[in-house]
Amino acid sequence: MHAPDPEFAIEARNIVKRFDGEAAVDGIDLTIRKGSIFGILGPNGAGKTTTLRMLLGIIDPDEGERFLLGSPDPISKAHQVGYLPEERGLYQSMKAYDAIAFMGALRGLPLAEGRKRGRAMMEDHGLGDAVDKQIRQLSKGMAQTVQLLGTLVHDPDLIILDEPFSGLDALNQGKLERLIRAQADRGVTVIFSTHVIAHAERLCEEIAIIAEGKIPFKGKVSTARDRLRPQVHLETRNLDGPWRTAIPADCKPLGHHWHFTLPESGVEPLLHALVEGGAGIESLSIERPGLHDAFVEIAGEAVARKMDADSAANDMDEAA
């Protein structure tokens, strides 16, 4: 067993989990720096939840080793961790502030202190009227907020959120993003899984892309994007001329519009060739690829399409 590095909140080395002989997670390596916001991206069934459950100690890996806050026994660090599972749930008969206190008590916070904090947190989040209501009397959104507050009530050093944006409307998604940033500003490590790339793109410093139980990419969002060349969108008056040698030979126009990857030589030689070659530039834009494009490049078209479908299904659920 390797010694854990105190710089990392999470270290996983070659962890494997099989269900009925099939590998749900197949040799994942993961290191997550303390104090960072880290996103785990992948479609449903890619192995995100299983990975998180192994990191948290809910289930043990069949192979490999993992350290959570430096410990190979994650449950022993539970008092420093907040966890919001994908499947949300609370005891229906509990009062809202009591549910928050209960979740804190599970992680070592004295019940009386948890109740006090629970009331205060609910007031701060605009749920003052619901403090004494039973969970069954709350709306779905309110109950989700209560559970999120329960995840934070004991001031954890590490927060793990499994699909936290799922089921939230746009307004609450924005609130959650602000909350995640606020926690990170306090030095808390935040790890969340999502199949919505936009959230990861806005929030994360680093991401891991997970597909079919493996991690084909792990690193900074910018590094993922840099794997793709910028895309050029060009509109010309002329369809032919000496300038055509400046763009890829296989690039075909759509009317007078051209779409191609920026050549290795860069922007200036291209611009020079277009002007000198008499292209008659009507419009020109050079776009840096988004994380979505990088995801397609890294994980493959099929995985990206599945993730888009999951995201659309999630949107429909929210609309419903």
Binding site: F19, D20, E22, A24, N44, G45, T49, T50, R53, L56, G57, I58, I59, D60, I75, A78, V81, Y83, P85, E86, E87, R88, G89, L90, Y91, Q92, M103, L106, R107
Partner: protein
């Protein structure tokens, strides 16, 4: 109306196919076998135990000639009346036959129900009032037949307050009562434990718990909460019962005293109830934890209850067989051990064995909890399709 029937048919078809094609339907099909098996076992055991308890042995302290005549008569009569209808006769050789000796012998020899002394023409039957009144007619019949005289033989009866045999029988009754109370309380509670984790699973709270505290703690916490609830209930009802009996002037000293004495017996009752509950409760909690719906819990309830009854029958059948292999098996088999041991407490006065038994039962409870947790972590705490597609049977067996 037609629309309602059509809609009802849609629901019925779904439910019917869902039940029929589930593996738990197997338990339902086996259902009728359980009560039949239990009824047969209960009937057989009941009569066996009652025979064991009511198998009288009369010591014969007559002259050798009269003793021989009496034994020959018993053999002859039992051919036509059946052996069970007449008491067993045991010759007391070289027995002085004085009343004080008879009383001492009855007190010492627990196998003796009563002692016949005097002569066949003027027999004296000594024993507890209940036993003497019960058997004097049969003894008179044997004496009359042995003497071949038509006149009725008058039996002189002498009562002693308690014989070794009646004391043993009373302790057997205490053992039976103790077991019955234990099994009733355990059955009610253990059934409740079966559905104990369903709330957490239907409310999706289980993952929050599993991520925060060891799974063993979840199982233990649930078990002890139910045990605490049961003990509060027992305390309330015991206090109420005691108060009512005091008001009604019930004499508690009339109750047969268990071998270890009442204070220790009651203490052991509490301990053995706790252990019986923890043993069966941890098993049922483990099985119930595999169930994801109330329907699955209902399906499990019957075989589980029947299993409890079988355990009880094992313990019950061993009451009258102290020290025999079947009784040792009931003592050592963890699930029947508390019931068998409370029967021992009523009938045997050595105390050290209870300490060993309690340790053994506690160790086994821990083993069951660990095993249940292992199954739960391996087969239930999964995500995605793999977890959802599995049947209850597959979750329990891990296949």
């Amino acid at each position: 109306m037609i629309e309602t029937i059509r809609a009802a048919f849609v629901i019925a078809r779904r439910d019917f196919t869902a039940i029929i094609f589930s593996k738990s339907f197997f338990f339902f099909l086996l259902g009728p076998l359980f009560p039949i098996g239990i009824a047969v076992a209960a009937g057989g055991l009941g009569s066996q135990v009652s025979q064991d308890i009511d198998n009288p042995v009369i010591g014969v302290a007559l002259s050798p000639a009269e003793t021989e005549a009496l034994l020959a008569t018993r053999t002859r009569l039992s051919r036509s009346l059946g052996s069970r209808s007449l008491p067993e006769l045991v010759i007391l050789k070289d027995f002085p036959g004085q009343q004080a000796d008879i009383i001492a012998k009855l007190d010492r020899e627990k196998s003796l129900t009563a002692i016949l002394s005097g002569t066949l023409a003027a027999p004296v039957l000594t024993g507890s009032e209940r036993d003497v009144k019960r058997w004097q007619g049969k003894i008179a019949l044997l004496a009359e037949t042995a003497l071949a005289q038509p006149a009725a033989v008058e039996i002189e009866t002498r009562f002693v307050e308690q014989t070794g045999s009646s004391s043993e029988r009373n302790q057997l009754l205490t053992a039976q009562a103790g077991q019955a109370i234990l099994i009733l309380l355990t059955m009610i509670l253990a059934g409740m434990v079966l559905s104990n984790l369903v709330e957490e699973k239907t409310n999706k709270i289980i993952e929050i718990l599993a991520a925060a505290i060891p799974m063993d703690a979840i199982f233990l916490g649930k078990l002890f909460a139910m045990l605490g609830m049961a003990l509060v209930g027992i305390a309330v009802w015991s206090t109420l019962g005691l108060s009512v009996s005091l008001l009604l002037g019930v004499h508690w000293n009339a109750l047969p005293v268990p071998a270890v004495g009442w204070p220790l017996f009651i203490t052991l009752m509490i301990f053995y109830f706790s252990m019986a509950y923890l043993l069966l409760g941890s098993l049922f909690l483990g099985i119930g934890a595999m169930a994801t719906t109330v329907r699955e819990v209902q399906t499990l309830s019957m075989p589980v209850t029947m299993g409890q009854l079988l355990v009880f029958f094992l313990a019950y059948s061993s009451i009258t067989k102290l020290g025999e292999p079947v009784e040792w098996f009931a003592v050592l088999f963890p699930f029947s051990s508390p019931f068998a041991m409370i029967a021992r407490a009523a009938q045997m006065d050595n105390i050290w064995q209870h300490g060993l038994a309690l340790i053994w039962q506690a160790v086994f409870t821990i083993i069951i909890i660990r095993f249940s947790v292992m199954l739960f972590r391996r087969n239930v705490m999964k995500s995605g399709q793999a977890a959802r597609k599995k049947s209850l049977l597959a979750r329990v067996t891990g296949k």
